[in-house]
Amino acid sequence: MIARDLVIIGGGSAGMAAAIAAYDEGLTDILIVEKGRQLGGILNQCIHHGFGIEEFKEQLTGPEFMSRLAVEVKKRNIDVRFQSNVLDLTKSKVVTYSNAAEGIVKVQAKAVIMATGCYERSAGAIQIPGERPSGIITAGTAQLYLNEMGALVGKRVFILGSGDIGLIMARRLTLEGATVLGVSEIMPYSNGLNHNMVQCLHDFDIPLYLSHTVTKTYGKSRLEKIEISQVDEKFNPLPGTEKEFEVDTLLLSIGLIPSNDLLKKLGLPVSKSRGAIVDEHYMTDIPGIFSTGNVLHVHDLADYVAAESRSCGKGAAAYVQGKWNLDSPSFNVIPGKNLLYVVPHRVRLANLDEHLTIKFRVSKPLQNQVLTFTFNGEVIKKIIKPFIIPSEMQKVRLPKELFNAQDGELVISSEDRP
């Protein structure tokens, strides 16, 4: 069996950033296994700008952002296998992948980084009632057809879900000459980043129907009509509130789900972000198996993915180089009041250089909040937040000195400001 120090599953933003960081820490025997024809993952189809402000202090498109990273990967001569799919991962870090040139290959790795990104939630997952003609398609797939194949999937479009992908596609489809009749969002608040709401909906006069969902789809071979209804606080449709739209396309932007099958097969616990439970360097409960990027938790910006994955790459290198004591004490990080999830979930203080970066999302939009960090019963930090919404991931850096012990519990909560 072939042996490699580090195998990275996925060559998108996360995989590339992790590879570069691990290499620069001295771990140079790396193999990236990528299912596509090129590096970059989903960035290749994100031709809109909005990337790179954090990483490169420039406004870049997705392909430009990914090129910056891909160039660094190539400079270091890091091995990549393209059009290769990982079939299996074992607890002992044997990665099995398949491609045309090599067939099925087993690789014994010292460390593995899962950087497999997400897939889009489908119509079936929420059981949209009605007929199942063509024309019901997820926003990301429509984006791939349009931006990589020059193919327009529809001319009269309605969008379900106010997540960023749907908003971006609302604008994109309008620019290509389609008519977008509206966006419906089941929550009473929108799910996308504020600047996307403005630049994609308001600027194009596309109406947003909050607290609405699609209650029926009509069409024998191609979609012809949809019906939306208002919902109550339990998300049940309210009779009498139906509105119909004659469309040929229903675009779904109803959520990204981490592609975590390989880790789930290993019986690894999964957090509320639907990603793995990880420590301060994004290592899972299995020593040497790491998870980073959208497969760990859905990020708002590829820039944040790159930053996180650099930490992960450094962590994987340190692990292989034996720099850590895995037995050193750790404390748990718990999402408290109003928090949906936190990353990481466990921290070995001894492994950190100077500070701990915690990322989290709140579970609903809140105003006048105090983010409260309570360590072993004592409040160690407070941050005042006038507004805080689920669709914007929060990132907080806590200096090591704030912690007076290595074990116990850090609880993060969002409290009403007194």
Binding site: S98, N99, A101, Y145, G177, A178, R222, G267
Partner: protein, 332 residues
């Protein structure tokens, strides 16, 4: 199973004409032959076997006065993603009622769970819509059998129509007064399991009365075996891939279907022409992302194979084109 049977039939000389609806059937009283007119052609024949499912009564009515009617009975189903923890390890049935088998909870041969079906009569013969109250009832019935079901792992809800006859039973007989018109109607549950026996009876007892039947010495009962990569060992898989590298190139990441398996399907006597056909016969597009990642590649594959534009590739029936137009040519 159905596709394999048809492939075997076509391999042995049967002509399959798809996308061709029967519009009229005229019987010649003198010699009891028929002229069957379709949307594309007309055929002169001695025997007609009517297996038109929910439309069997309409087909029979083209010839005479059928003494039965077919009411479509809809069944809605849920499919759960591949299981990582075992929910049940065999098909769990409730006690049957007059409505049928009832809602089952069952593992599938593909490693998913299937839950359903419901059972309710509908008026339209093409009403395939799912609806929330029925899906909720299916979930509730399933929970009566298995107390905890991870419905958040659902990846698809779909429905089908059973052909229920007014007689409450299978109708496998010559039509009264039109003995060369054989009705095989109302074959609802347990129709699939009964179909080989029904076919044998129809041919040997009914068709044989009207046509001289001589066993075909060249009949080949086997289709070319389908490659089942998952059943092979690591070494066996690699040997096949060395001979055919496209077997190592995965096109559907959720279900791990290779290009080589799709090539093999296209090389047979009834290659799929639509996305839905590829989905049903390879499982590409049946996984958790429901074709989100692989559909564009399969659309391109079909366009290249049939030498048509991307815009011509259909999801299923005519008019179900996936792409409306290419961006450089849109006229709106």
């Amino acid at each position: 199973m159905t596709a394999h049977a048809m492939e075997n039939a076509v391999d042995n000389g049967v002509e399959l004409h798809l996308n061709e609806a029967v519009t009229a059937i005229e019987e010649n009283a003198a010699d009891q032959t028929f002229i069957v007119t379709t949307s594309k052609n007309s055929y002169h024949c001695k025997v007609v076997i009517n297996c038109a499912g929910v439309y069997a009564d309409q087909m029979a009515a083209m010839v005479g006065q059928p003494d039965f009617s077919i009411r479509p009975r809809k069944g809605e189903y849920l499919i759960l993603d591949h299981y990582t923890a075992e929910l049940v390890n065999s098909t769990i049935f409730p006690l049957p009622s007059e409505k049928g088998k009832g809602v089952l909870v069952s593992p599938t041969t593909s490693g998913n769970y299937i839950i359903g079906p419901s059972s309710e009569f509908v008026d339209e013969k093409d009403d395939l819509a799912t609806d929330k109250p029925t899906i909720d009832k299916v979930k509730k019935s399933a929970l009566d059998l298995v107390p905890s079901i991870p419905f958040n792992e659902t990846i698809r809800a779909f429905s089908g129509l059973r052909a229920s006859s007014s007689r409450g039973d299978f109708i496998v007989e010559e039509m009264k007064g039109h003995e060369h018109f054989i009705n095989v109607a109302g074959i609802d549950s347990p129709g699939l399991a009964s179909s080989p026996a029904i076919a044998k009876y129809v041919v040997e007892e009914l068709v044989a009365k009207h046509l001289p039947l001589n066993k075909n010495p060249n009949f080949n009962p086997r289709i070319k075996p389908y490659i089942n990569l998952k059943a092979l060992s690591f070494e066996e898989k690699n040997e096949l891939i060395r001979e055919n590298p496209r077997l190592g190139q995965i096109i559907c990441n959720c279900e791990k279907i290779s290009l080589g398996e799709l090539d093999d399907l296209m090389s047979r006597s009834i290659p799929p022409r639509t996305i839905k056909a590829v989905k049903k016969r390879t499982r590409a597009g049946f996984g958790k992302c429901q074709g989100g990642f692989c559909q564009p590649a399969i659309v391109k594959y079909l366009a290249d194979f049939y030498k048509v534009d991307l815009t011509d590739v259909l999801y299923d029936k005519g008019g179900s084109n996936i792409i409306r137009c290419s961006t450089k040519e849109c006229k709106l």
